[in-house]
Symmetry: C2
Subunit: 531 residues, 2 copies
């Protein structure tokens, strides 16, 4: 743990947010003894660590790409030519990274140098106005689990986006925690909606205190692909101050922010930016506007280096990191040593600016993938601004197919917002015109016709060998009695699917969208009248 204390604001007192369980944690008594161990001349018969001479690993070498290897102008050969080797030996002091310390037990908070690296990254990217500390964790899944263990009591409500990451919920459903969703638009979660929810919270009706935690994937949200705009962030932060909420910013896609989509013919090749240009073009994080210390940011190297590292860090008010460290000591201990060593050696090789160059190229790569998917929409469908579509609305685009043979009218299929970040396109499929859906709706036995038809459509696509993710996976959990489209108060005659553009090739994306188009024609097309 290390702070960024110089010239920082003192966080406001937020210790009342620590839950009963977390308050009751004591430091491990074993840790008390450590300061005596460091004393000059001390012979310790106290430690229980295995002897490092008895570890079988003597040296680790990692061949890594250069920071510019992903520059799309590089050939495959050029990529390999840029390899360099990170070399970590036992007792080796040539690069200051003695492998031994990464093989031994750690203290819980992570290697001191990795913490310093995290702190330097935090200053460069977010420059938080209030004092904070960084604490390592083994990935954002575990980080969120520790944050719930820190802040939530059983049967609490947690404020989430209208559609939210399912694993985040799966964690707390078993202890009776429920989601209090707030609607969003193309600028992200609605600050007005948030204020309304909190202002009108009915404790006795809900059977639970007003929410004290808001969970946000604030850039390139999974699943909606939406980033919260700069202006909206400030409004949300103000509401959180007013109602004393802690903001948990789970932000793995932060560096994957893209310029707006331009159709292929007019698309300019991405220009190389300086680090300053690159960083200043990113939407400021909640951490960067957190003058009170009420943002707990979950940082991860999973999307920027690789997920198997299982390594990330909290950026948070020291009053929270102190308690999170207590949990770390008894729940996980330090992240894996080879992961810590690899990241440290990588940054030593690349330098901080090299890492930002890597991120810039990574951003271009994912941006290209986003463009492939949107290109495919344009190629296989008519994509029209929602305002000019058969189902007018103020934001986003509508994907349509031609109407009756010979007619010029378009039949709307799904609405979406072009993602400016992340890995996903979120789609709202519009079922009203679909005869098969109307049949299902009229069947008296069908409690949730929207989900029944969405499932049928999903299966039809899977049968034609194209797979989307059902939107139902991302429905906020509001309790067992609030699962159907109607009970959730969701818009009728529609359902959602998530497209991911992270993994498939350009050819796969085009072929996938072509297959989807064929299935859609069966349901939405003119011939669907005889379904």
């Amino acid at each position: 743990m290390a702070g960024g204390k110089h010239g920082k604001l003192q966080p406001v007192d937020l210790s009342h947010h620590i839950n009963a369980k977390s308050k009751a944690r004591h430091p491990s008594p074993l840790k008390d003894i450590i300061r005596f161990m460091g004393q000059e001349g001390m012979i310790s018969l106290a430690g229980g660590l295995p002897h490092p001479s008895l570890f079988p690993l003597e040296r680790a070498k990692f061949d890594v790409l250069s920071p510019s290897a992903l520059n799309s102008s590089h050939t495959e050969g050029g990529r390999a030519a840029g390899l360099s080797t990170l070399d970590l030996g036992r007792g080796d002091s040539s690069n200051g990274l003695d492998l031994t310390r990464f093989l031994q037990y750690g203290s819980g908070c992570g290697d001191r140098e990795v913490i310093e690296l995290a702190t330097e990254l935090t200053e460069r990217v977010h420059s938080p106005p209030a004092a904070y500390e960084c604490l390592l964790h083994p990935g954002n899944t575990n980080a969120w689990s520790k944050v719930v263990g820190l802040l939530c009591e059983d049967n609490d409500y947690v404020v989430v986006d209208e559609f939210t990451y399912p694993s985040a919920q799966a964690l707390w459903i078993p202890v009776g925690i429920r989601a209090a969703p707030v609607q969003a638009d193309a600028d992200g979660l609605s600050a007005t909606g948030l204020r309304d929810l909190l202002e009108n919270w009915d404790e006795s009706g809900r059977g639970a205190r007003r929410p004290r935690v808001i969970y946000l994937v604030s850039v390139g949200s999974n699943p909606t692909g939406i980033s919260i705009s700069n202006r909206r962030r400030k409004d949300i932060y103000d509401v959180c101050v007013q109602f004393d909420l802690i903001i948990v910013e789970d932000d793995p896609y932060y560096f994957l922010q893209y310029p707006p989509y331009t159709p292929a013919p007019d698309r300019a090749a991405p220009q190389t930016q300086t680090t300053t240009e690159f960083l200043s073009a990113l939407t400021p994080s909640f951490t960067s506007i957190d003058s009170q210390g009420r943002v707990i940011r979950l940082e991860s190297f999973s999307k920027t280096v690789f997920p198997g590292l299982r390594l990330g860090y909290f950026i948070a008010n020291p009053v929270f990191t102190e308690r999170l460290l207590r949990a770390t000591e008894v729940e996980t201990q330090d992240p894996a040593g080879l992961s810590q060593a690899f990241v440290l050696a990588l940054f030593q090789q690349w330098g901080m600016d090299g890492y930002f160059t890597w991120l810039q190229n990574l951003q271009c790569q994912y941006r290209q993938r986003r463009d492939w998917l949107l290109d495919a929409f344009h190629e296989h469908f008519a994509v029209v601004p929602a305002s000019e579509s058969p189902v007018p609305s103020s934001q986003g685009l509508v994907v349509c197919i031609p109407g009756k043979a010979g007619g010029t009218a378009l039949r709307p299929v799904f609405r979406f917002v072009e993602p400016g970040a992340g890995m996903f396109v979120w789609s709202t499929f519009l079922f009203e015109d679909v005869r098969r859906f109307q049949q299902i709706k009229q069947s008296a036995s069908q409690e949730d016709p929207e989900q029944a038809f969405a499932q049928e459509l999903w299966m039809a696509m899977a049968d034609d060998l194209v797979l989307l993710t059902p939107g139902s996976y991302y429905h906020p959990w509001q309790g067992a009695d609030m699962v159907t489209t109607k009970a959730r108060g969701a818009a009728p005659d529609s359902a959602h699917f998530r497209f991911s553009f992270a993994s498939p090739t350009e050819e796969q994306i085009h072929e996938g969208v072509r297959r989807m188009r064929k299935v859609i024609e069966r349901y939405w097309g003119a011939e669907a009248a005889d379904f």
Copy 2:
């Protein structure tokens, strides 16, 4: 996860042990979709994984010792000469280990081949009679945290040894769980004591249901160094069947089992054994006698390979591993990829028998360290069988110093049992003869004279630059009102310290014990009369 199902007994139904929280866990819906992804010709726009071509690591090489490198007859040069390199590349199929899969997200249960390795190890070492599954975890600290999350309700009691590992308790103290300790002797926890505890459990008096879980470090216990004998294990298992307890076997020191101590002059050099001889000389684990599937074994590579791996595995009844996997999905995900890749490549290089050779040499190394400490006791003190000591008892040894100048009587200082495994010697210091202790005891203000004097003694040793671990760290937590020696019902006029022989050199051990002897002389020696 993989089972050892062929020819195995069907576990009895133990699903009632799964607690309310764990029962309420649902599989992550994202996982459902995975079987569709594997379908021939499927184009997936569903997955959210980052693209592996965008990971910067191309190749990892690890220089490792040979399995026989720790053979004490080898010189330092011989050790280095035996190095070989584990070479893991991207898309590399020469050794079947494509690095890419260890860089990507896993499914939660761990890499299939690592699971197979764990299963093969389990069969070779424990050959469990009932069907089981192996599930990876990131170290025994996290494994125990998941087991508590699986089995315990808030405010339960957990049966533990008379002295127990503090981090195991620190985890559950915040949710009101308390320890129900059972006395032990040189054969380990008393089966009779366990039966008495359970038979006479007073639910209303205790305010909690009868314990359903027993936590044991069954070989070379931390802190007592004691291993539960083969005979005693069977008795304990029978009691657990009778009272329907789940046995959690946290057994990181299993392979560090030693022959009895022989004083230096008569000590024979260790003989190399065949793998069969090595394995058959080990005390059978609880897992190996678990005909009902009521043992959850926590396996770790921390003491046998290195702790920084943060890698181990559960061996348990499939009804438990299924729920533990649900927790893994939302709490930690797979252990770190480089750790999994390293262990798999290491076993590929060494072979299973090579690993057992490594363990045999490791065992010899720690045995030698154990012997250094006991040698030092013999050198600096008089060590007499407890039965012939001034404080007769049937088991163990008593460390004494000479009595009054010129006299032949011995003054007892501490009692201990020679550890046949692990890294620790547990000592019961006897304060009755110590004048300073009697002074403290007579001071009316002192609530816990034993702990007050133990603290003074500990500080006196630390001032003289030798550090032991205070025994109080290992007191079972029975509630805030049961902390003093008296309230705990502990033996009066005594307190405990733990010696570790894992880390210091032979010279440090001797010098440490010499320093301790000088402090002890001040308190126990003839001149102490004038203290």
